[in-house]
């Protein structure tokens, strides 16, 4: 049985209101609600993503801006298109598709072709979101799904990086390695300060820790994200990364490196926290982030791919329904042994 959502209610209620209505309204309690709304939340997240977008434009120039625009536009268009052909109310302006587009763009390398960005956005929205019925029903994080699809579709293009253009550095436009790839394949470590500011090669929005933190903390301040999720995820990464580091400091990087490099920050603040695709129960949330963080580090250090954040989140997404079902909090006053 599907959700009888808005349009249903509206048309039926409107017709039922009939011609002879008096001036009293009846409804079921509670009668007044708080002022949150889905578009409000989503637009705040869009705002929170601006620092990261700005940083990517600063470091990677015009192309970064182009990619963000292409992704956002194609996400919105895809959503509009799907909702039109399904004859569903068009909800493009609630902002969730904008977030998906921005986040997808931020996970792409600056040199990624425009056509690929379009394809990824299309997949993210149409297959990753609308095929499940749109906002709220998707199982996997659409942006990450789009990224994973691109990773599998154009693995070479998506791992071709350019250096950031900053004063004093020679521009190496052809290709450069990301800090994680340097660590993994060449055993070189990037200075933490560069990572923090974002002065490294990598996906557009993943590079600048400070810009992401700014947005993330703003969201936390607004109360739209649960502190458990980002901190648990990062904490778990730090602990597992730290364990490796303590075991063999020469071979494995420090926990701070894990937190600052790659998609850890963007993932922890904006993707782990995606409400739709994370668990709703406290215990479920803990399991989600702890296992996710650990898995990200393990994939980074031992796996075939340099980046584990995306896969760890997607993988844990698939467990969310089970987690929600089986980690329900204990009902107030519930007693185990029922005595009569």
């Amino acid at each position: 049985m599907t959700d009888k959502t808005t349009e249903n209610t509206e048309t039926k209620a409107a017709s039922a209101a009939g011609p002879k209505a008096e001036k009293l309204i009846v409804s079921s309690s509670p009668h007044f609600l708080n002022t949150e709304s889905v578009p409000k939340i989503m637009h705040t997240v869009v705002m929170a993503l601006f620092p990261a977008v700005a940083a990517s434009v600063y470091f990677f120039g015009f192309r970064a801006l182009l990619l963000v625009l292409v992704c956002v536009a194609s996400c919105m268009l895809s959503e509009y298109w799907m909702q039109k052909i399904r004859k569903k109310p068009v909800t493009v302006y609630d902002g969730s598709a904008i977030i998906t587009g921005m986040l997808l763009a931020l996970t792409l390398p600056p040199s990624f072709p425009v056509f690929g960005a379009f394809l990824g956005s299309f997949f993210a929205i149409v297959v990753g979101k609308q095929l499940f019925g749109g906002l709220g029903f998707n199982i996997f994080n659409p942006a990450l799904l789009g990224r994973a699809f691109m990773q599998a579709t154009y693995p070479v293009l998506i791992t071709t990086w350019t250096s950031p253009r900053t004063v004093g550095h020679a521009v190496d436009a052809v290709s450069a390695a990301t800090p994680l790839a340097l660590m993994k394949f060449e055993g070189k470590l990037t200075p933490l300060m560069d990572l923090f500011v974002g002065n490294v090669a990598g996906s557009m929005g993943e590079t600048s820790v400070i810009a992401i933190l700014l947005g993330g903390l703003y969201l936390r301040y607004k109360g739209y994200i649960n502190w458990k999720l980002p901190l648990g995820y990062l904490g778990s990464m730090a602990v597992v990364g730290g364990a490796f580091w303590l075991a063999d400091p020469a071979r494995y990087p420090s926990p701070l490196f894990h937190l600052f490099a790659g998609g850890a920050m963007l993932g922890a603040w904006f993707m782990v926290t995606d409400m739709v695709t994370s668990p709703v129960t406290p215990l479920g949330q803990w399991i989600f982030v702890v296992l996710g963080g650990a898995m990200a580090v393990i994939i980074r250090l031992l796996g075939g791919l340099p980046e584990g954040v995306m896969y760890s989140i997607l993988f844990m997404n698939a467990f969310v329904p089970l987690l929600n079902k089986h980690t329900r909090p204990k009902v107030f006053g519930e007693i185990k042994t029922e005595q009569s």
């Binding site: 693995p155 070479v156 290709s175 390695a177 394949f185």
Partner: protein, 210 residues
């Protein structure tokens, strides 16, 4: 007929009949399959040892393991190099490489990827001649190495395939491991001696056919 007898008969008869049919079929097809396998082996040896026209099989058992190398010989029966298989894990699964080594044990003569299950379009480009050909005349001391995104600079270097560093690395590592093992097990002079004693494969297989 009671049901047990029926069951018994059913299964036994089907078992015997299928056994017989399969044995018959095996008898017909197996030689063909063997020929295919041999042809594949021969072809790969001839690829990595281009001058070879025939080869000899040299075997030696060290501990539990049996090592096999193939000595390529030219039309006149003179050895032109040795070939051997190098196996090891790649990105997805096993990568098997046929490696051709110079008789002087200094340089590779060529390689051929026999089997691999790497990602099509990425890792599986190790099977492309462009990659395999890089290994011609590569020095094996101290070790074969790969470098990324640049033209090789040293005589023991090849360039890794972009986006498939792991597969490239696996090929190189496999080769290094196998070369080291062959060098240890089949010292140069012993090899020559063994080669003189062995018969060419073509002769052997003919015998076998009879």
């Amino acid at each position: 007929m009671n049901s047990f007898a029926k069951m018994f008969l059913n299964l036994t008869v089907v078992g015997v009949v299928s056994g017989v049919i399969l044995a018959g079929a095996f008898h017909v097809f197996d030689p063909l399959i063997q020929i295919n396998k041999e042809k594949e082996l021969k072809e790969s040896i001839f690829v990595v040892l281009p001058e070879a026209k025939d080869y000899k099989v040299l075997e030696k058992t060290v501990g539990k393991e049996k090592l096999t190398v193939y000595e390529g010989i030219d039309a006149s029966g003179q050895p032109v190099g040795i070939a051997f298989k190098a196996d090891g894990g790649g990105f997805q699964g096993n990568i098997g490489v046929m490696v051709g080594l110079n008789l002087d044990y200094l340089k590779l003569k060529g390689i051929k990827i026999l089997d691999q299950v790497e990602t099509p379009g990425l890792g599986n480009r190790i099977s492309e001649p462009a990659f395999e050909d890089q290994f011609k005349n590569i020095e094996i001391t101290p070790k074969v190495e790969y470098i990324k995104n640049r033209k090789p600079e040293k005589p023991n270097q090849i360039q890794a395939i972009t986006g498939a560093t792991i597969s490239s690395n696996a090929v190189v590592t496999n080769i290094n491991n196998a070369v080291a093992r062959v060098l240890k097990t089949f010292p140069k002079d012993e090899m020559i001696k063994m080669g003189e004693q062995a018969k060419p494969a073509s002769a052997e297989s003919k015998e076998h056919q009879k």
